[in-house]
Symmetry: C2
Subunit: 169 residues, 2 copies
Amino acid sequence: MYYGAMTETLDIQAPDAVASAPLHSLLGDLITTAHRLTRLAAHETNRTESPATWRTLSVLQAHGPMRLGELARQSRVTQPTMTKIVRGLDELNWIKRIADSDDARASLIASMPRGEAALAEWRETLGTALVPFFDGLTDDEQDTLRRAVDILRDRADLRSSAPSAGAAK
Amino acid sequence: MYYGAMTETLDIQAPDAVASAPLHSLLGDLITTAHRLTRLAAHETNRTESPATWRTLSVLQAHGPMRLGELARQSRVTQPTMTKIVRGLDELNWIKRIADSDDARASLIASMPRGEAALAEWRETLGTALVPFFDGLTDDEQDTLRRAVDILRDRADLRSSAPSAGAAK
DNA sequence: CCATAATACATAGCCAAGCTATGTATTATC
DNA sequence: GATAATACATAGCTTGGCTATGTATTATGG
């Protein structure tokens, strides 16, 4: 646990680090900001139903039905965690499990109409709650955000990126 | 709980909604993506120390010492939650409490050097873990992200924005 | 073709981080 | 100086993470 002497940028690093230093720093800010936004949303809508629910439904809606394990990987949570979330969604009848005829161990998780409806409703609520915070946005700024979201969504998706640490093992 | 018929955009809304519809939709995507990014970060770094810790330290670093209540508001959590987080940080000696001579009920929360060091270290780890995901970014894309983060950070900050639902009461 | 390994999910049990409701000390107010 | 308001702490609950492990199914090697 080192400390002391951290004025701005770090100078001594591996070669190639010079070029990626701003990216490094950007990523730190990005994640911190992302977390604050998530809190902002939860706080302002103060719904009890949990962010994880919406995140999961969003993934399902974006990518269509998939197996529980795949859903876990896409959501960057472990399989047991996803089992729990899916059980909750199942009890609400927001998703259904479609048996896989080829593999009796697995089933496809598919969102149900009322799950999609609930998600849409939540997004509405969210929009209404957050609009005040983004009130004076110029068209240009709004455009920047739109493009940023598209970039990030793409990068956060599984297929493109390295699986890495947590997922494996 | 309504369901059925949600093909893309909603048409019937209050006046003025037409103009803000894309913003609504943008915000939905934004929050979902933000949450996925937070998970991505947690998953890839698989540190145990919890996002809330870093978020709190970041707020402290950005705005300087402040009272616990203020810190809670900035972080968009309730006061008891912040009490818990601060206790944890205190035990680690990552923050200290500075008694307020004018008001014996309150004290200022200030980050300690080793707290700042830990935060910096985490940001390093984070950068290293996430760089692979953002590998082929063009300069233009990186610039877009930078600008987006700046906009969002500003909007998520307290002073500018409406306090609203959760905080009040 | 059967035994073993690998896979897909479920279960159990733990902890962190949210929340509401309530308590306790201090400060402000009439 | 009593009452109200404020700032934080405590208690107790829920959710959403995690690891470790169990159970059923499928794949594989001799």
